[in-house]
């Protein structure tokens, strides 16, 4: 009874499907895009690969930031550090 209000962290991300999300990777890479979905299993325990649309990829290099536009990607979940719902990315 007392646990019904608790939301697991990944259930929060499930609520973000269809809206913009900012993904920060282990390395000097970031992505922003519309979250289209991710694997059901083993959700909501472990974050797996996710599908993003209208993506901007930000790559931070010693020469400065490089951005790439991508229409639709399947992003490997292994190297994800942080997800920011509604995040506009590093340039906002």
């Amino acid at each position: 009874m007392s646990t019904t209000n608790q939301l697991l962290p990944l259930e929060l991300i499930d609520k973000c499907i269809g809206s913009k999300i900012w993904v920060i990777m282990k390395s000097e890479k970031e992505f922003t895009g519309i979250l289209r979905g991710f694997d059901d299993y083993p959700f909501p325990i472990k974050l797996q690969d996710m599908v993003l649309e209208d993506v901007i990829e930000y790559e931070n290099t010693p020469e400065g930031r490089k951005t790439t536009k991508l229409e639709q990607i399947l992003l490997n979940g292994n190297n994800i550090t942080m997800l920011i719902p509604g995040g506009e990315g590093p340039e906002s």
Binding site: G18, G37, F38, D40, D49, E71, Q72, L74
Partner: protein
Amino acid sequence: MQQPPIQQQQQQTSSPTEFLNNVIGRPVLVKLNSGVDYRGILSCLDGYMNIALEQTEEYVNGQLKNRYGDAFIRGNNVLYISATKLRE
């Protein structure tokens, strides 16, 4: 004058499995964690993101370095698989 229904404005969700089913046979860009890009026709792949590409082009720092007829990419190296949207 009618507004389009909301269902038409918002696209349905697309799970990784659906995405993969949609991109088989289409030209894709595969980026590895090392930063190397591979462009080619996706012939097949599995749940580990192991990938078989045809007519593969290897780009290092954005420059074409190699061409392979067929290439197998081990899934652990893959950062993302990118495709252009299907237009109906």
